[in-house]
């Protein structure tokens, strides 16, 4: 690299950047703003209105700052890649980094599956613990799924969503192979289809399935029976749904970058990272489908 004549290694020594600091400050505002939205912080003086329960201003500024950070930071990464800073060894950095990020995401879902399995499998064990009868608790722990819960038929919309995600896994692979062969047109159509299938999944999940749920989320339901199933179901599938949306955005960015001619048959790690992420989202869904949708249904029938 001409600009670093005296540097005899291929690592990328990144220039100073404002984004980590801006991002951190924005996250502070986002966190305080979230608490203001949820609870409000009672103070006197000029900040009173800003910190009153439900006031969106601080959260909004934080969110804008986070979005600006993401755009600015990742935009810089793209520019650095185009300048040739992503040498083969740096490319391996990025690959390791993405794999490890996905590993941490897997562990995040472990927490939600953990809650689901513990509450599902051990409800009877907990019911046995009760020495002094607390009627509400005994009722809550007696059955899983709780008696007032009407679970989804797994072989209806959920099966369709499973097929949609699996199909999107094939289209993203199609896009990848086309990209490697230098077939820009094929890559474009593969990506367009993947984004469309991802959006369709989101529409079916949030637009068609959730409104039909035969149980409630949060304190809208019967507290002693239906509510807990709704908590685990909606938090686990909802976090997955959020990841589908993130993955769809990631793939959309890749589509734009493809059309802008930023990917070559040799170098297109941004696309590969999006594809890895997409497969991760896909696998999480298969676990959700098997254990959150199918198994309870079989258990209830069996």
């Amino acid at each position: 690299m001409a600009s670093h004549g005296d540097v005899k290694h291929d690592y990328h020594l990144v220039d100073p950047s404002p984004w980590p600091f801006v991002g951190s400050l924005s996250l502070f505002l986002l966190a305080v703003g979230a608490v203001v939205l949820m609870k409000g912080i009672e103070v006197q003086g000029p900040l009173k209105g800003l910190l009153a329960h439900g006031s969106p201003a601080i959260f909004g500024v934080g969110a804008i700052g986070i979005l600006a950070t993401m755009a600015g930071w990742w935009g810089d990464v793209i520019k650095e890649g185009q300048k040739g800073h992503h040498t083969p060894v740096v490319d391996i950095h990025l690959r390791y980094g993405m794999i490890l990020f996905i590993a941490s995401e897997v562990m995040f879902f472990v927490a939600w599956f953990w809650a689901y399995f513990e509450l599902a499998i051990f409800h009877g064990v907990r019911a046995d613990w009760i020495i002094q009868g607390d009627a509400d608790v005994m009722k809550a722990w007696a059955h899983w799924p709780p008696p007032n819960v009407e679970t989804f038929d797994p072989f209806h919309l959920p099966l369709m969503n499973t097929l949609i995600l699996l199909l999107s896994g094939t289209t993203v692979t199609w896009a990848h192979h086309a990209l490697q062969k230098g077939d820009r047109n094929g890559a474009m159509w593969g990506l367009i289809l993947t984004v469309a299938l991802g959006s369709l999944f989101t529409f079916i999940q949030f637009g068609m399935e959730y409104p039909e749920a035969g149980f409630m989320y949060g304190n809208q339901g019967d507290v002693t029976t239906a509510n807990l199933y709704g908590s685990t179901f909606f938090m686990a599938t909802g976090f997955h749904g959020a990841h589908v949306i993130i993955g769809t955005i990631f793939l959309t960015v890749c589509l734009i970058r493809l059309l802008a001619g930023q990917f070559t048959p040799q170098k297109h790690f941004g696309f590969e990272a999006a594809a890895w992420y997409w497969h991760f989202v896909d696998v999480v869904w298969l676990f959700l489908f098997a254990f959150v949708y199918v198994t309870p249904k079989l258990a209830m029938e069996g």
Binding site: V14, L25, A103, P146, Y217, M235
Partner: protein, 565 residues
């Protein structure tokens, strides 16, 4: 490389010029926008010192309160110009002391500070793999600390401001709308989220750096043990923190969005929070101590002028501590009524950890055995660490037994145990590393007298604080109360005297820093500029100048022989 001698010389001078191209320390952008692992490491260390002073001052309030029966501090009257309302505020300070010391003192010092500074130097790398991400890992910490401090002064619940449920955040105390319904707990949850993001990003950075940036010839089995210790530590963080993130998100939704994960009357289970928390929490306690193991290995080897005894055994002992650390979490929960079979398993699994830990202790002693021991300040701290950590380790074996733990659970015996491993173990390792690497980081020498005085005051002080707490625990004194019956007064008073000695030790530490950095009387001379520690210091950081160039290893070093342990 085919270059003529003159061209090579010119190139070399050029490299020197580039390496010395160090921005001014008075330019705020150097720190706010940094992408330099040494600058970021320095910020971590300064942050850790500040957080340590804050957390240490908080423990001063606790020991002041506990010096005698009755309420001395938390009684609604003005103390030092501040009114500490009631016993709830004692618990708020206690919770904050724990969280600050763990997340904002020990972890930033050991992983962020020494890890950032010395992992790239020790493996022969010019910087971390992701220098910009490195900076957000740091800057998220002041954000997290601000959220935690903010949490202390906003409404907590019926008892007053702040969250008083301990660093473990157990439900239902942390979810009860009546006890902690205010925004305080929500801020604390988000503070831990932010600290967690910081650590996860840092962990990814370290793993990639260690796997992919080792200099030619620096195989995994030639890496210094400190690098091994950081590698194991960050794997633990990467795999355990997201589970905590899930658990505290459940707390957040239980508190704000009406879920019932931890509400028994809604079908949930408060004990499940303990499982999720300790699945993170137990690896976390190894996160706090493993980097210390690495530092002690470097120091013991340096000042015994011997390679560390059983290098591979030492490395894989840490790996096995890390692996087993994931499957022992419920030994924190023996009194939840988990069932005898589970208890038996967790007792057995927990005791097994004593085996690799014993390997480490014995190998340090074997390293010293027959060595040419030089009792310089870092070595004092290292030997102090081995002594105190062993004590904390053996009380850990006692507590591993569910039968005994049923009696000792939540007593001061537990407080004494984990302070011997943390306050005396991890913190002694922090100071050992600090005194070991301070000349390297600054190019200055410190006063050996002040360093030694600091050590002996701290050593006597912390033992006086925590040794009597074993007796208090065995007598049945429960933790997390602001007051106690008169029968516990004797040992509590001694414990509080110990705090005063420790505090004087910290003042000596600050005096040492002032003497070193303000007076700047002792610079490393040319002969000892690379290493003031003589031939025992064999790792790569001692081949560089002190302080090292702004960007080191523009030409990567080649490691040929197996001497860099």
């Amino acid at each position: 490389m085919a270059t003529s001698p003159s061209a090579h010389a010119g190139e070399h001078a050029d490299e020197h010029g580039h390496a010395d191209h160090r921005p001014s320390p008075y330019d705020p952008r150097r720190w706010l926008f940094s992408t330099n692992h040494k600058d970021i490491g320095t910020m971590y260390l300064i942050f850790a010192i500040i957080a340590g002073l804050v957390g240490g001052a908080m423990s001063g309030l606790l020991r002041w309160e506990l010096a005698e029966p009755g309420l001395q501090v938390f009684n609604g009257q003005s103390v030092l110009g501040i009114v500490f309302g009631n016993e709830h505020n004692y618990n708020v300070i206690m919770s904050a002391h724990g969280l600050i010391m763990i997340f904002f003192m020990v972890m930033p010092a050991l992983i962020g500070g020494f890890g950032n500074w010395f992992v790239p130097l020790m493996i022969g790398a010019p910087d971390m793999a992701f220098p910009r991400m490195n900076n957000i890992s740091f800057w998220l910490l002041p954000v997290a600390l601000s959220l935690a401090v903010l949490s202390m002064i906003v409404p907590g619940g019926s008892m007053g401001t702040g969250f008083g449920g301990g660093w473990t955040l157990y439900a239902p105390l942390s979810t009860s709308p009546q006890l902690h319904g205010g925004p305080s707990m929500d801020l604390l949850i988000l503070s831990i989220h932010v600290a967690g993001i910081s650590s996860i990003l840092g962990s990814i950075n370290f793993i990639v750096t260690i796997f992919n940036m080792r200099a030619p010839g620096m195989t995994l089995h030639r890496m210094p043990l400190f690098v091994w210790s950081i590698l194991v530590t960050v794997w633990l963080l990467l795999l355990s923190l997201p589970v905590l993130a899930g658990a505290i998100t459940m707390l957040l939704t239980d508190r704000n969005f009406g879920t019932n994960f931890f509400n028994a009357a809604g079908g949930g289970d408060p004990a499940m929070f303990q499982h999720l928390f300790w699945f993170f929490g137990h690896p976390e306690v190894y996160v706090l101590i493993l980097p210390g193991f690495g530092i002690i290995s470097q120091i013991v080897s340096t000042f015994s002028r011997k390679p560390v005894f059983g290098y591979l055994g030492m490395a894989y002992a840490m790996v096995s501590i890390g692996v087993i650390g994931f499957i022992v979490w419920a030994h924190h929960m023996y009194t939840t009524g988990m069932g005898l079979e589970l208890e038996a398993y967790f007792v057995a699994a927990t005791m097994i950890i004593a085996v690799p830990t014993g390997i480490k202790i014995f190998s340090w002693i074997a390293t010293m055995w027959g060595g040419s021991i030089d009792l310089k300040v870092p070595m004092l701290w290292a030997i102090g660490f081995i002594f105190l950590f062993t004590l904390g380790g053996v009380t850990g074996v006692v507590l591993a037994n569910s039968g005994i733990d049923t009696v000792l659970h939540d007593t001061y015996y537990v407080v004494a145990h984990f302070h011997y491993t943390m306050s005396l173990g991890a913190t002694f390792a922090v100071f050992a590393g600090f005194y070991y690497w301070l000349p390297k980081m600054s190019g200055l020498k410190y006063s050996g007298f002040l360093g030694g005085l600091h050590f002996w005051l701290m050593f006597v002080g912390v033992n006086a604080v925590f040794f009597p707490q074993h007796f208090l625990g065995l007598q049945g004194m429960p933790r997390r109360y602001a007051d106690y019956p008169a029968g516990f007064a004797h040992w509590n008073l001694i414990s509080s005297y110990g705090y005063v000695i420790t505090a004087v030790g910290v003042l000596v530490f600050l005096a040492m820093l002032l003497d070193m950095f303000v007076l700047r009387r002792r610079k490393l001379n040319a002969a000892e500029n690379a290493s003031p520690w003589g031939e025992g210091a064999t790792t790569l950081e001692w081949t560089l100048s002190s302080p090292p160039p702004f960007h080191q290893f523009s030409e990567l070093p080649v490691i040929a022989e197996e001497k860099h342990h």
